[in-house]
């Protein structure tokens, strides 16, 4: 099985050791490239310089959602097929998701001040992201609370599953309610309604963010595996 590393800690460790250094270099290069592209990207005729917040805001928003989606999938896998590695991954990547969510919130409200005139509005998108952050925080709490490992892992997994209801709400909140927030313009499936000159740096930055997330994730997962081995 090619994809065995996704559910087997040993295979994961082997693969991680192989790809870690190249990954580090590639992530660094892409990040630099992305920053250069952002620097030379055109200014928006309305928003001026503040549009550059987008290159942090949107990737971190996407990654916050992606991280949660990954955790949801692993929870299902872990509960249904009793694969312990999924719990390890869940525990390892929850803080990463929390960081991305915080980044999204912070950059969003930084952007909101010049655009909408306030740091915070009670709009469905913003609130559902705040709820996402709370869910992440609860997950991190839960990982700290229980003394018994079995209880901890299963509770967290079940909680992640219940919380995944929030994902579609975040994603579609801009369509379901008329809100201040930008409706999907890039992530529309048919044709992105954004200029190619802004799309390119955005995509590069997204890749850079994902790689950085991946690197932290690998480190944390390896540490988790070690902790678990020590406990056994």
């Amino acid at each position: 099985m090619m994809l065995n590393f996704l559910i087997n800690p040993n295979k994961f460790n082997i693969l991680a050791d192989i790809i870690f250094k190249p990954l580090l270099i590639i992530a660094f290069i892409i990040l630099i490239l992305g920053l250069i592209l952002v620097y030379y990207s055109p200014l928006d005729y309305q928003q001026g310089l503040t549009v550059k917040i987008m290159y942090i805001h949107v990737p971190s928003a996407w990654l916050a959602l992606l991280t949660y989606a990954i955790m949801t999938i692993y929870s299902i896998v872990g509960l249904a097929f009793k694969i312990p590695f999924s719990f390890i991954i869940n525990k390892a990547i929850a803080p990463i998701g929390a960081i991305f969510t915080t980044l999204c919130l912070l950059s969003g409200s930084l952007w909101g001040k010049p655009m909408w005139g306030t740091w915070w509005v009670w709009d469905a998108r913003l609130t559902s992201v705040a709820i996402l952050l709370i869910i992440y925080v609860i997950i991190i709490f839960l990982n700290q609370t229980f003394e018994s490992r079995e209880v901890k892992e299963k509770t967290v997994a079940i909680f992640i599953l219940i919380g995944s209801i929030n994902l579609p709400i975040i994603k579609f909140s801009v369509d379901w309610w008329n809100t201040l927030h930008q409706p999907a313009s890039i992530s529309k499936l048919s044709s992105p309604s954004i200029d190619i000159s802004m799309l390119k740096p955005l995509l590069v930055m997204t890749i850079a963010f994902s790689l950085i997330g991946l690197i932290i994730a690998i480190l944390r997962i390896k540490a988790e595996i070690l902790i678990r081995k020590r406990d056994l």
């Binding site: 018994s148 490992r149 406990d231 056994l232």
Partner: protein, 202 residues
């Protein structure tokens, strides 16, 4: 017949018991003894599938109980060290609830008689929270007779009982064994029952 095969249980990586083999035949009364913390209660809970064994199997009448746990529950009465009676309801309310739960065929007269023998008749409309410890325990033990199951599993049934109740309980055990029932209980008490099999937990 209850057959326990190579049962092991670990709690947080510390071994509680390992490779335990045991067979309980019809008509047999078995007592588990052992030091405090030796895992008696844990063992009973593993048999009843409340705790999951690390490995090993349990067979009832030749069938692995995991296959259909409710078939096994259907023949088993479990009396814990706790009191499962609902404190806010009266003695009779509790009994009626248990009776319905196990579809018992005892008539009301039978139940009043039972209460009489256990000296609980005068409390039949008292809420359980107003009974003394021993009375609550006796009410709990009524379930043995009420449920009319074949396998009885009990944890520390003798605690709190006075001498005459201990007599009654012993008699009940013997009667049940004579009717081919199987009894397994954990206790530190030394009851006067003939043919009592004793298992020592190290």
């Amino acid at each position: 017949m209850l057959l326990i095969n190579n049962l092991s249980f670990y709690r947080n990586n510390t071994i509680i018991f390992e490779d335990l083999n045991l067979s309980l035949n019809n008509g047999q009364i078995t007592q588990i003894r052992g030091k405090n913390g030796s895992g008696k209660t844990t063992f009973l809970e593993v048999i009843l599938n409340i705790l999951e064994p690390k490995n090993g199997d349990i067979f009832w009448e030749g069938k692995n109980i995991k296959k259909n746990i409710f078939n096994f529950f259907n023949v088993t009465t479990f009396i814990m060290d706790q009191n499962t009676s609902t404190k806010k309801l009266t003695v009779l309310d509790n009994i009626n609830f248990w009776k319905g739960l196990c579809a018992s065929k005892l008539t009301n007269a039978d139940i009043l008689l039972l209460l009489e023998t256990f000296n609980l008749l005068k409390y039949k409309n008292t809420k359980v929270m107003y009974l003394s410890k021993g009375e609550i325990k006796k009410l709990e033990l009524l379930r043995l007779i009420l449920e009319q199951k074949k396998l009885w599993i009990l944890d520390e049934p003798y605690n709190h009982l006075d001498n005459s109740s201990i007599e009654i309980l012993n008699q009940t055990f013997k009667d049940h064994a004579n009717k081919n029932g199987i009894i397994l209980f954990a206790s530190h008490f030394n009851p006067s029952i003939n043919n009592l099999e004793i298992i020592d937990f190290h």
